[in-house]
């Protein structure tokens, strides 16, 4: 019974460390901003680091815990971004309180992306491995391309939709075009502050940690480890696959809402498969099923390309070399052994110096 207590403490301790790390990073950033020591470049990146971290953590649920390769995660972010932005633009005058409006936008973005997650998940999750990857990739592109030609406007008669151009919306005089096809949505209120983003990152992290350490989370990981055995002990595979996939989609929707409220114009072309792959790189580099790793790698890899800008044309070349080096350092057996040796040496040295002090 004693060991049972230890186990609970172990997973709780790990999440406390992660939450603590996020909070400390937040406090340091705020201190730097207040004292005027943070560059403009970095200040502009703060919110995007958070939504990329949310994306990485949520994709880790599908890839790391459910064990299904999804390449369409950016599509769900896109849905959340558009749903949240449309909502905020429509209600910017009706709801004056930013907090209430933004909370509702976040919830709406999560629900829209989650519903699409349920729908797409129901269709595609019968497939496995490469096939699933290709189909999710296709769905991500479909979402992006449909939104790319979508025009939405409203006037006194209600909402108008078109897939041709703004004129065929047939708006009355004084009607407003909300979504302008490839030009996307502009003029969304900039509600996404760094504080809100960090809070949402923490909420996302806690949702996934709690899910994974619960009955449903065990079922999800059982499917990853051995789906035949999972079925044989009575776990409904389809149900838990769709559950994990749609929660992951809903959380990506939250990241999307943050994105659209942080930037002047939201265009669906930004949510292509490049973004999906980038998020997948964060997850793989941070470690499958390792949420803290996802957050750290999302933050580092968002910063890195910006700080490599001085290299101009060689920027992405260096970026990819850094990726390879990091991958080796993180996961190559020899590197892991070397790292462990280093840390145990450090620990021994610390102990020694403590003894000498005494």
């Amino acid at each position: 019974m004693k060991s049972k207590m230890l186990k609970i403490n172990k997973s709780a301790r790990s999440s406390i460390i992660t939450v603590g790390m996020i909070l400390i990073a937040y406090i340091i950033c705020q201190a730097l901003i207040v004292t005027g020591n943070m560059s403009n470049l970095l200040q502009n990146l703060l919110v995007s680091m958070c939504y990329y971290a949310i994306m990485a953590v949520s994709l880790n649920l599908t890839v790391g815990f459910l064990g299904q390769l999804s390449l369409g995660h950016a599509g769900f972010m896109c849905l959340g971004a558009f749903a949240g932005a449309i909502f905020s633009k429509c209600t910017v005058n009706a709801i004056q309180n930013t907090f209430i409006r933004f909370t509702l936008a976040i919830l709406l973005g999560a629900v829209v992306a989650g519903l699409f997650g349920i729908f797409i998940g129901t269709v595609v999750l019968r497939l496995r491995g490469d096939y699933l990857a290709i189909v999710t990739l296709a769905f991500g592109e479909i979402i992006k391309n449909v939104l790319n030609v979508l025009y939405i406007g409203y006037d006194s008669k209600g909402i108008h939709l078109s897939m041709k151009d703004a004129i065929s919306l047939n708006l009355e005089d004084g009607g407003i075009v909300l979504v302008k096809g490839a030009q996307g949505i502009s003029g969304t209120p900039r509600d996404a502050t760094f504080t809100v983003s960090v809070i949402l990152l923490l909420i996302t992290y806690l949702i996934i940690v709690n899910l994974v350490n619960s009955r449903s989370g065990r079922a999800i990981m059982a499917i990853r480890d051995n789906s035949i055995a999972a079925e044989s002990v009575g776990i409904n595979i389809t149900k838990y696959k769709i559950l994990a996939f749609s929660i992951s989609a809903a959380l990506a929707g939250i990241a999307g809402v943050l994105y659209s409220h942080n930037i002047a114009t939201v265009q669906s072309s930004k949510f292509g498969y490049n973004l999906s792959i980038m998020i997948l790189v964060f997850v793989v580099l941070g470690g499958m099923g390792n949420l803290r790793g996802s957050i750290i790698s999302a933050v580092l890899l968002t910063l890195l390309p910006e700080y490599l800008r001085f290299l101009r044309d060689y920027r992405m070349l260096i970026y990819s070399i850094v990726l390879i080096v990091m991958m080796l350092y993180n996961w190559a057996p020899a590197c892991v052994a070397w790292r462990n040796k280093l840390s145990s040496n450090l620990a021994a040295m610390l102990k020694k110096s403590k003894k000498e002090e005494l």
């Binding site: 019974m1 060991s3 049972k4 230890l6 186990k7 949702i207 709690n210 899910l211 350490n213 619960s214 009955r215 449903s216 989370g217 065990r218 079922a219 990981m221 059982a222 990853r224 480890d225 051995n226 035949i228 055995a229 999972a230 079925e231 044989s232 002990v233 009575g234 776990i235 409904n236 595979i237 559950l243 099923g289």
Partner: protein
């Protein structure tokens, strides 16, 4: 009382009649052995009974309920649990979690209360832990509850599979070569464990085994399968001395 009644169960893959008119009646509380040479179709019978394959023909009745053609999940809920010939544990999860996954359908709380840590989460998790430790203790695995199941020694992995199957609270337990790869001492210990759990959990057991010492030692009845059909069926001493059975195993 009949726990399992199978009538004329058949399946073929292409032109191969893997199982042909398989009929067996297992009474409640019995320990039945299913033996036969390699490729006789023993594991296929298990896959048919647990819904992994759908039979071409025949009927499976568990405790008076027709379960023919149901999905593996529904069959498990109806009361059949199994282990696998090639161990299929949840390797990246702890020993305790493996058993708790077995408890999945017997202890329920919603995903929402799991995510938001509502009182029902703590209450049910506590009961699940207690039950899981109780099962692990029977198999002598409670000391290893926190280690990854992949890191268990081979014999203990086999035991953990049985523990996980038991956690689903089955009426009928199917063991697919539980002693495969075990040394004589481990086999001896396994036989004891099977005897204990049978009494403790009021189980009916059907097991596939090649180790004749185990089969003759604990099975009350034996069914011999050869080329997908019945070769012999009955009490151990009769079956094991049957010249047809000896011929099938050793050749002429």
């Amino acid at each position: 009382m009949e726990m399992l009644k199978v009538k004329n169960l058949s399946i073929s893959f292409g032109g191969l009649h893997a199982v042909d008119s398989f009929s067996i009646t297992v009474n409640k509380g019995e320990l039945y052995g299913l033996i036969g040479p390699n490729g006789a179709g023993k594991t296929t019978v298990f896959n048919l009974l647990t819904g992994v394959y759908k039979p071409d023909m025949g009927q499976i009745i568990l405790d008076g309920k027709n379960i023919t053609g149901l999905s593996p999940v529904e069959i498990n809920k109806a009361g059949i649990a199994r282990t696998f010939q090639n161990i299929r544990l949840f390797k990246n999860l702890s020993v305790l979690d493996n058993v708790k996954i077995g408890l999945h359908n017997n202890y329920n709380y919603s995903t929402i209360s799991g995510i938001f840590r509502l009182p029902s989460y703590f209450r049910t998790e506590k009961r699940m832990n207690e039950k899981a430790y109780e099962i692990l203790e029977v198999f002598g695995l409670d000391k290893e509850a926190d280690i990854l199941s992949a890191n268990l020694p081979y014999g203990k992995q086999r035991k953990l599979e049985i523990a996980r199957a038991l956690a689903t609270n089955p009426k009928l337990l199917l063991l697919d070569e539980p002693a495969a790869g075990m040394n004589p001492a481990e086999t001896e210990e396994l036989m004891e464990t099977i005897t204990i759990i049978r009494k403790k959990y009021d189980l009916t057991i059907l097991l596939i085994e090649h180790d004749m010492k185990l089969v003759a030692g604990i099975c009350e009845k034996i069914f011999v399968l050869n080329f997908g059909t019945e070769l012999a069926n009955g009490l151990p001493q009769d079956v094991l001395n049957n010249p047809e059975v000896i011929k099938a195993y050793l050749g002429e």
